[in-house]
């Protein structure tokens, strides 16, 4: 069989860069295959996507070396438009790529540009909408859809063209765990039913492997490091060295001393076959858990009592919320979009005002405090650092809050230096913000909040869209900060983040506080998981597989072991 995509000794260099981004790529992808391309940020996987769909070199200037054939034809000669008839790309940000004003128009977009007559267009839109199950939403605007639905619309928008290859650029980046699982299942179903070749670019290995993948291509620094089956990859040692997160159950098995090999079919927890001896090892590991002593509860920092909030249009975003956050805690606020997580933060910061209930900061009722006054106790870090940075130089940005409070210059300088040191940004003090990477900008925004010395910082999705390496960098920094005495609250739907770093999770759904418990307990409660659009962790399944009833205790055992291993590194 002829490969549908074939890279031969392929390289790519952007005009604006000195060094090539891709080197010596040799990769054949055959019709009907499902291929996962994984690798840390900056490994060249996004460039590989751009080379396939033609954005490079047609939108981003650059040069090819070697050869790339798509459907047997040399790609050098075919522009973006020609390639888009063979390869359909679903971009990462399903919000920004929503071009049409309604679902139907968005799906029809490619047909409109191809001058397809209106009658035929309507029929084809209808067919593709049915394929991805959005036919009930044809007249809806993007803001009326959930993240998962928007992504399905994007998929329908490339399926109208009957492409051979579906190319997904980080399809899980903006979805909650349950929607992510559904997305992977949908991709799997479409690939089978429509006989498509599927290429997925993702660094969330475990989540993609929820469905079968034929191959995993691992990239690092512009080169292909491995091109193998998921089974082989999971049993090797490559994952640890490239900074891709291995599935939790695999890590747990390794902690328990079980040797994982391909014959155990370890690619999915559902197919994993453990011998009795292996199960015994896991049970033994579980039972040797060291006793932990319960720490005394610290003094309350933020107390929320019977909070209810309705928007002007009558939508009840929060209902009867009561909770207490204590000094020094690291807490996750979880729940799907629209569950009330962000609303709670807005109320705490004073951006909105509740109709009922009250919020106390260090025992003081906040009702009469302005946004500015509250900011001295609670710092709020927005998701996108570009939305927060308003000064050209790092120093000015970090000192802004103090300058506005008319503190003396020496005090400002001292606080800026301290905040920059905490965020490991001291070498950049004289730099312009624009010269920094995304992760560094994120740290600048955190530093600019820390310079006010708040008791607590609230972060909205601090790791959204970050790969494992940057995620770890950001989270370890926050953990460090937390140990130095700052109370940290994170809005997230990343379950790994909750498990690995937080002591406590507050789970919201439809404006109510569903649970306030340890992450291990939350993620071992099937009813709660279902309601809050979370996902069962594979640890839960592994516990069942090994005959351990107390999945929560098993998860806790894992977390402790994992934290110890991580800190020991």
């Amino acid at each position: 069989m002829e490969p549908i995509i074939s890279f031969k000794n392929f390289g790519f260099k952007y005009t604006v860069q000195k060094e090539p981004t891709l080197y010596d790529i040799d990769l054949d992808i055959y019709p009907g295959q499902k291929v996962l391309i994984a690798g840390p940020s900056g490994c060249g996987k996004s460039t590989l996507v751009s080379c396939l769909n033609g954005l490079a070199p047609f939108s981003y200037d650059g040069e090819y070396t070697g050869s790339l054939t798509i459907g047997g034809k040399e790609a050098r000669d075919s522009d973006i438009f020609t390639r888009s008839k063979v390869i359909g790309t679903v971009l990462q940000d399903s919000d920004a790529q929503f071009v049409g004003l309604t679902v139907a128009e968005d799906i029809a977009f490619a047909l409109e540009n191809d001058e397809v007559p209106v009658d035929e267009m309507k029929q084809r839109v209808d067919t593709s909408a049915r394929l991805v199950d959005v036919q009930g939403h044809l007249s809806h605007a993007p803001h009326e859809l959930s993240g998962g639905q928007k992504q399905r619309v994007s998929l329908a928008g490339v399926l109208v063209d009957d492409v051979d290859v579906l190319l997904f650029d980080e399809p899980l980046a903006n979805l909650d765990p349950a929607a992510g699982e559904a997305a992977i299942e949908l991709i799997d179903r479409i690939a089978k039913e429509q006989n498509k070749t599927v290429i997925i670019i993702e660094h969330r290995l475990e989540d993609v492997l929820h469905c079968h993948m034929d191959r995993v291509v691992l990239m690092e620094e512009g080169r292909i490091l491995a091109d193998t089956t998921p089974e082989e990859l999971l049993c090797g040692r490559l994952l640890q060295t490239t900074g891709i997160r291995e599935p939790l159950y695999i890590t747990a098995l390794k902690y328990a001393g079980v040797a994982v090999d391909p014959s155990m079919r370890p690619a999915h927890i559902e197919t994993l076959a453990l011998s009795d001896a292996d199960k015994e090892k896991v049970r033994a590991w579980f039972e040797t858990a060291p006793k932990t002593e319960k720490a005394e509860p610290a003094e309350p920092l933020l107390e929320v009592k019977d909070l209810t909030f309705r928007y002007a249009n009558g939508f009840e975003a929060l209902k009867d919320i009561s909770l207490t956050l204590r000094k020094g805690e690291m807490t996750a606020i979880a729940g799907r979009n629209g569950a009330g997580k962000s609303t709670l933060c807005k109320l705490v910061c004073g951006f909105e005002h509740q109709q009922e209930g009250s919020i106390f900061l260090k025992g003081i009722d906040t009702a009469d405090l302005s946004i500015k006054e509250r900011a001295e106790h609670v710092g709020y870090v927005m998701q996108n650092p570009n939305q927060m940075i308003s000064k050209v130089f790092i120093k000015d940005e970090v000192g802004l809050g103090l300058v506005l409070r008319e503190r003396p210059q020496e005090e400002v300088d001292a606080a800026v230096d301290a905040a920059l040191a905490t965020c490991s940004l001291s070498p950049f003090v004289e730099w312009p913000v624009s010269a920094l990477s995304y992760g560094q900008k994120k740290r600048v925004t955190i530093a600019s909040i820390l310079s006010l010395k708040p008791d607590m910082i609230l972060l909205d999705e601090p790791t959204a869209g970050q790969d494992f390496r940057r995620y770890t960098e950001i989270m370890e920094f926050l953990e460090e900060l937390n140990r130095s005495g700052v109370t940290v609250v994170l809005i997230t739907h990343d379950m790994h983040l909750m498990l690995e770093y937080c002591d406590r999770s507050l789970v919201f759904s439809e404006g109510r506080l569903l649970a306030d418990d340890s992450p291990a307990a939350v993620l071992s409660d099937p009813a709660l998981i279902e309601k809050a659009s979370l996902k069962k962790t594979s640890l839960y399944t592994l516990a069942g597989l090994c005959g351990i009833d107390d999945a929560k205790a098993f998860t806790e055992r894992f977390i402790r072991c994992d934290r110890k291993a991580r800190r020991g590194l």
């Binding site: 920004a96 029809a108 977009f109 409109e112 001058e115 940075i389 409070r405």
Partner: protein, 276 residues
């Protein structure tokens, strides 16, 4: 959040018309109203515009901000005309009926008053119809109608996208100001207008940066789906003209024709002159 310049969804015959016929009507109407200085005609157009508004079910409350804005602008325009050329009416109408002398070179004349009435009525006759078009035509309908009257579809589409992103950018601006306020920027009424303007300009940097990101993604997404491949494109929302559409275009044509007839045969010039 206030609505500045946006489509408002209602069910009305005017909403149901195609954007193209509304646009044609708007253009003809505006030409007609702009070229005439006959207060009787302009007043009639104003009344007609109010009737159309009634049919469209758009309420004054929906467009309050824009109405205030144009009202203030109109006042300012009139004030400046009077300040810089208080005898403009006299020059136009060739006579001088003094009402009273104010000071220096400023004298109030009947001619000047009539001229100001005309300027006012021009706003009154055109602004409602522009607002009516904007509030009853959604961005994609707008793009396709621009394209239908001969504007290149790439330009038409970018105008529509810009209109569509206004609410998003407003929301983003709101978020940015909130985060700045948390940093200690005073944006409430406690701060002086100057200080508030200065901080508002501070939000521009983050706003522009995040908009640039958005533009890059959207233009890639469009190109990947063949936008710009052909000279023409079709439109999912394309509809055939109905009786209402022909009616609207005829109405626009009638306005222009009346204006031309008034200028050529009745007033013998653009100005209706009661002083001769």
């Amino acid at each position: 959040m206030m609505n500045i310049f946006n489509y408002i969804e209602r069910r009305s015959p005017i909403h149901a018309m195609t954007g193209a016929s509304k646009l044609v009507c708007l253009l003809l109407w505006s030409f007609g109203a702009m070229s005439s200085f006959d207060p009787r005609f302009l007043f009639a157009l104003f009344v007609l515009a109010l009737v159309l508004f009634k049919i469209s079910k758009i309420r004054v409350a929906d467009i309050r901000f824009m109405l205030w804005f144009t009202f203030v602008f109109c006042l300012l325009n009139n004030l400046l005309i009077f300040l810089f050329s208080p005898m403009h009416g006299t020059e136009i109408y060739g006579s001088c009926h003094e009402i009273f002398h104010i000071a220096g070179r400023y004298t109030l004349t009947q001619e000047q008053l009539l001229y100001h009435l005309n300027v006012f009525l021009k706003y009154a006759a055109t602004i409602p119809i522009v607002l009516l078009f904007v509030t009853t035509t959604d961005p994609s309908e707008f793009a396709s109608s621009l394209n239908r009257i001969g504007v290149n579809y790439k330009i038409a589409y970018s105008v529509a996208l810009a209109l569509r992103y206004i609410p998003d950018i407003q929301r983003e601006y709101h978020d940015i100001t909130l985060s700045l306020q948390a940093r200690g920027v005073e944006m409430s009424k406690k701060a002086s207008l100057g200080a508030r303007l200065k901080t508002a300009s501070g939000t521009l940097v983050p706003l522009i940066l995040s908009s640039m990101d958005r533009i890059e993604v959207i233009s890639n997404a469009m190109e990947l789906r063949s936008f710009g491949k052909n000279k023409k494109r079709t439109w999912y929302r394309y509809r055939k003209f109905t009786a209402w559409d022909f009616g609207a275009m005829l109405l626009g044509l009638a306005v222009l024709l009346i204006s031309v007839v008034l200028t050529a045969f009745v007033n013998h010039g653009r100005y209706f002159n009661p002083f001769v």
